[in-house]
């Protein structure tokens, strides 16, 4: 039973990571639109997207927002929130922290150009996670079930 559960957990982790990176990609796209057309300050962008249903998987946005509201400066609040998101890999965390230190530091056009670059990074991360999910999700469940059954049979 435990083996089956661990297989399901691995599969679910891979799925959540894939969904998270998909949401990050969508968020970066939305950020470009916000920079280009609404010129909202970062605090209000974080507030807007932290509340949106489509971006619920980006829980770090809520944490970032609450730190800003407690008086933290945006780059520090963003970095801390990203660091606390367990589903990101170390390289993804590093890239997102870097992005946080650059967000809002230049005019809208420069911000959009920069976001295009980060979109490319995260597209690659997303594709990798998607591939990993497709490759290992079902096998992880089956392996779990198989191992569980094998142990069950062995014990009997």
């Amino acid at each position: 039973m435990a083996m089956t559960l661990s297989g399901v957990t691995v599969s679910s982790h891979l799925k959540k990571r894939k969904e998270l990176l998909e949401a990050v990609l969508a968020f970066l796209g939305s950020l470009k639109i916000e920079f280009r057309y609404s010129a909202l300050p970062l605090e209000r962008i974080a507030e807007k997207y932290a509340k949106e249903e489509n971006y619920r998987s980006l829980s770090f946005l809520s944490q970032c927002l609450s730190e800003i509201q407690d008086g933290a400066d945006f780059p520090f609040a963003w970095k801390r929130a990203v660091e606390n998101e367990r589903l990101f890999s170390p390289s993804e965390k590093a890239k997102l922290s870097q992005l946080g230190s650059l967000l809002g530091t230049s005019d809208a056009q420069q911000q959009v150009n920069m976001l295009c670059i980060y979109e490319e990074y995260f597209r690659t991360y997303y594709e990798n996670s998607s591939e990993t999910y497709n490759k290992f999700s079902k096998p992880a469940i089956f392996t779990g079930i198989f191992m569980g059954l094998s142990l069950f049979v062995l014990f009997i």
Partner: protein
């Protein structure tokens, strides 16, 4: 008043970098009360400007007329951090105002910016880099400062008024108070107002909510260029009075000239250090020649914010302009201090 004023000071210093902010917050209440501007310059002393002129700020949170060993020197890093905090780490959201040399902070406090201009091929400023100075102007509320004007000019009907004065004479503060009273039936009927707040100083809108109390029956056109806002207000909002700060360019004057034909009234402020400057500014003359303005209120300045120095009749000012144009001087209408006697 003092407690309220100091709250305003405390809020105005909020974006300043942590170390300097702590020292400013520790200032004596009197210093906080008397300060109109906080001047930060890279690697130079912090200066507080107020009723007693420019004073050097020291590390022990005191001020002095002369440079001392412990005078607080603002580092380049502190200046950059302060600038970023003023913008809420969102330079993209303030780019237009930065290019125009200022950032408006929460509460309507305005910071003037000096640095190195980055120009495009057409010579337009596209950015300011290497910020070297920030001048934080503390936006004060002076409740009731416009009572006399409301009582004199707006008791029963809407009129057009120009408020003139030197820098730091309280033009914006007077406008804010006037807007609040006119749109809240405070001493007059309840007028429909449109407030044109290009620099976000009058209403200090955040989100869609004004931080400053500008009354109940008013629409706020936030960050609009003045000339476009005037036309938009007239076309779509049908105000009885339009309130507008710091009229300066010909295009703004032209928009007002166009709008007065629709019957809307204006309360505007304009920069003029003294009577001579007032009557010699072509924009003032253009506004007066619309014949829709009734009076010009001149503020005193000289460390007495919102103090009315003189109220002029438009007809008298136009007479004086005509006299000066035709080369007739020494008329008894204008005294040696530039004040028109009636």
């Amino acid at each position: 008043m003092s407690q309220n004023e100091n709250n305003v000071f405390n809020k105005a210093v909020w974006p300043i970098s942590l170390n300097l902010k702590r020292k400013l917050l520790n200032c004596d209440e009197l210093i906080k009360n008397d300060t109109y501007e906080i001047r930060l310059r890279a690697n130079r002393p912090v200066i507080l400007f107020g009723a007693k002129g420019s004073l050097f700020f020291s590390s022990d949170s005191t001020v002095s007329n002369t440079l001392r060993n412990n005078t607080y020197i603002c580092s380049g890093e502190e200046l950059t951090e302060t600038f970023n905090r003023m913008c809420g780490y969102s330079i993209h959201a303030h780019q237009t105002s930065i290019n125009n040399g200022f950032v408006t902070m929460r509460g309507g406090h305005r910071a003037g910016i000096a640095g190195t201009a980055v120009l495009d091929s057409k010579g337009e400023i596209i950015n300011i880099r290497d910020i070297s100075s920030l001048n934080i102007r503390i936006a004060r509320e002076s409740d009731g400062c416009s009572s006399q004007l409301v009582k004199t000019f707006f008791k029963d009907k809407a009129r057009s008024l120009i408020i003139a004065g030197p820098p730091s004479s309280g033009k914006t503060t007077m406008l804010k108070d006037l807007a609040k009273k006119l749109s809240s039936a405070d001493g007059c009927k309840c007028f429909k107002l449109a407030i044109i707040d290009e620099r976000e100083e009058l209403a200090a809108v955040e989100g869609a909510i004004p931080n400053n109390n500008v009354g109940l029956n008013c629409d706020i056109l936030n960050s609009y260029p003045k000339e476009k806002a005037v036309l938009t207000a007239v076309r779509t909002l049908s105000p009885e009075i339009i309130v507008c700060d710091e009229i300066g360019s010909d295009s703004e004057v032209n928009a007002i000239k166009h709008a007065v034909n629709t019957g809307v009234r204006f309360v505007v402020s304009i920069h003029a250090s003294d009577f001579d400057e007032l009557v010699s500014r072509p924009q003032v003359e253009s506004l007066l020649r619309t014949y829709s303005f009734d009076n010009v209120v001149m503020l005193a300045g000289d460390g007495q914010p919102c103090k009315i120095k003189e109220i002029y009749e438009v007809g008298d000012l136009l007479d004086e302009i005509n006299r000066r144009r035709s080369g007739i001087y020494g008329n008894d209408l204008v005294g040696s201090d530039g004040i028109v006697s009636s």
